[in-house]
Amino acid sequence: MGRFILKRLALLPFVLFGVTALLFCVLQFLSPEMRAALYVKDPRQLSSLEAVIDKYGLRKPVYVQYGVWLKQLAHGQLGYSETAKMPVVDAIKEFFPATFELTCVSFLPILLLGVYFGTLSAVYKDKLLDQLTRFIAITGYSLPSFVLGLLLLMLFYGKFHWFPPGRYGLDTDLLVHGDSFRHVTGLLTLDTLLNGDWAAFLDVLKHLVLPAATLIYIELALLLRITRSSMLEELGKDYVRTAKAKGLPGSMVVRKHALRNAMIPVVTLSSLLFIMLLGGVVITETVFDFPGIGRWGVEAAQQLDIPGVLGSTLLAAGLFVLANLASDVLYAFVDPRIRLE
């Protein structure tokens, strides 16, 4: 077990190396002038671009440039993002908590609803509840998040004015950027509570409802399907029949016997799901004008703000790789049959 984890950890640098190399290759489509922005700390430096190009050898062979860039990267120097109007490292610190908060708020409902209804759907196969669950799953799978998001906005913002886009309203904006506000976690739901401001807390919560609802509906589908099919497989096995033959009540067989085994693929999936959420927020944040990593990345891509694109993408890829690792480890941990060497 320990060796398996170590082996996976040892692979990590290679994947990260590949990730940076791939991104760097893609960047070669751009002129040296555009790539120079990667090495700039302050917008004033942009006036002397030629000097930057010379200094970092942007007209030299690719592998030389790559080495220089990696060194910068290792020093946490990621350039200046025009769209965020701040250095990339600061932008990540600024935007990541928002994305993380949105992801966390959506993750728990997905997990609970997915497992609960996925299980029920398997137990009551082909009954009304199952049909309904499958309908929700297949529609969630087929509905693009930007369509759902815009529909929700049309209804709950345009018609009812209940849930506005953005991350907070004007009052909260003044409060959060005021002097007396203590920033503890960066997660505004927690911070407003810690500052004891109920009105701001409710305001922040109100802004989370629609993007979270969008994410939940879209991402729920996968979990529903996996839980259902995994549960169906277990329910058809001999040990379940044995348990039933012993005269155990059905609910007990489901909860104590089948569900525990059916959860194995679900547990592994859930760590992947968390990361898919982090990827899925790209569109959702854009639709709801929610100031997180995803919206920043998209804006950077639209305006060809290369440091911004690279910073947000590296962050996404890094998280993705870590989650894959976590999912593998979790898998080996949960399923005693899988003890990889």
Partner: protein, 287 residues
């Protein structure tokens, strides 16, 4: 095939796809391009006011922002949707078969290099990598298709490699080799035809996702340009109008609901069909 037609949900999927295919084929008759139009995919504009107009006898689905005729855009957009989906699936299947087949068949360092390559591409959320590729290669529909293709092939390559690994140990492969067949012949005539079903299942299941990813790129303004008949792009035109007008908050409903419904039904059709294909072709799922 019989099974495909007997299941109501797969039948519904098939009906949806057949309907869209019919619209795509009949596009020049359903929505006649204006006289002298150089490119039928460019939606005709009726005036220059930015405010969308409601459905009327002249514009069946109304117009969207900047007076683009929505009906015309929807009809020709069906063609775009098929082109994007088929292009991406076929090209990424091709790359996946070539690289996955080579990796599984030759093994050794070829396998190692190719599979680490898929690791790297799979280390990105697919939309994120696609956004990066399009943005640096200049936004446009073709570049968007290429970028979705570039993020889609690794899953095919992975799947095929695994199957090739197990099939190449079978006796009939050894027999073909003993008869003096070349590597290429063994791979393409004997091995790959034996592992093509799981690949087809994956392809039909990923069709919907590909359409959504490509539409998302267009929605973000990185795909088809404004005025091009593309559903994702039409939806992005509705973005400024979801608040409605004074007194009627659903005044511009058609700008969002019509293209939104089209994408949804198109993807739904592929997903229903994909599920059915999987049930038919994958023996493990049979009950």
């Amino acid at each position: 095939m019989k099974k495909l037609l007997s299941n109501p949900s797969s039948l519904a999927g098939l009906a949806l796809i057949v309907f869209f295919a019919a619209v795509a084929v009949a596009a020049p008759f359903l929505a006649r391009p204006p006289k002298g139009a150089r490119n039928p995919y460019l939606i005709p504009q009726d005036g220059y006011s930015s405010e969308p107009a409601r459905p009327s006898a002249k514009h069946w689905f109304g117009t969207t922002e900047s007076q683009y005729d929505l009906y015309y855009g929807m009809v020709w957009g069906t063609r775009t949707a098929f082109e994007v989906a088929l292009f991406v699936v076929v090209t990424s299947l091709f790359i996946g078969i070539l690289l996955g087949g080579a990796a599984g068949f030759y093994g050794g360092w070829i396998d190692e290099i190719l599979m680490r390559g898929t690791d790297v591409v799979l280390a990105f959320p697919d939309l994120v990598l696609a956004v990066v590729i399009v943005s640096v290669t200049r936004p446009g529909l073709f570049n968007a298709m290429i970028s979705v293709m570039l993020v889609s092939w690794p899953s095919y390559a992975r799947l095929l490699r695994g199957d090739v690994l197990s099939i190449k140990e079978r006796d009939f492969v050894a027999a073909a080799r003993a008869l003096g067949a070349s590597d290429a012949r063994i791979l393409f005539r004997h091995i790959i035809p034996n592992c093509v079903y799981p690949l087809l299942v994956l392809a039909s299941l990923s069709m919907g996702r590909i359409v959504i990813t490509a539409a998302a790129l267009s929605y973000l303004g990185l795909g088809a340009p404004v005025g091009y008949a593309d559903w994702g792009q039409l939806i992005s035109l509705s973005r400024n109008w979801i608040m409605g007008g004074s007194g009627n908050s659903f005044q511009y409903w058609h700008t969002l609901l019509i293209p939104g419904a089209a994408i949804f039904l198109f993807v739904l059709g592929w997903n229903l069909l994909g599920d059915a294909v999987r049930d038919v072709l994958d023996p493990r799922q049979r009950s």
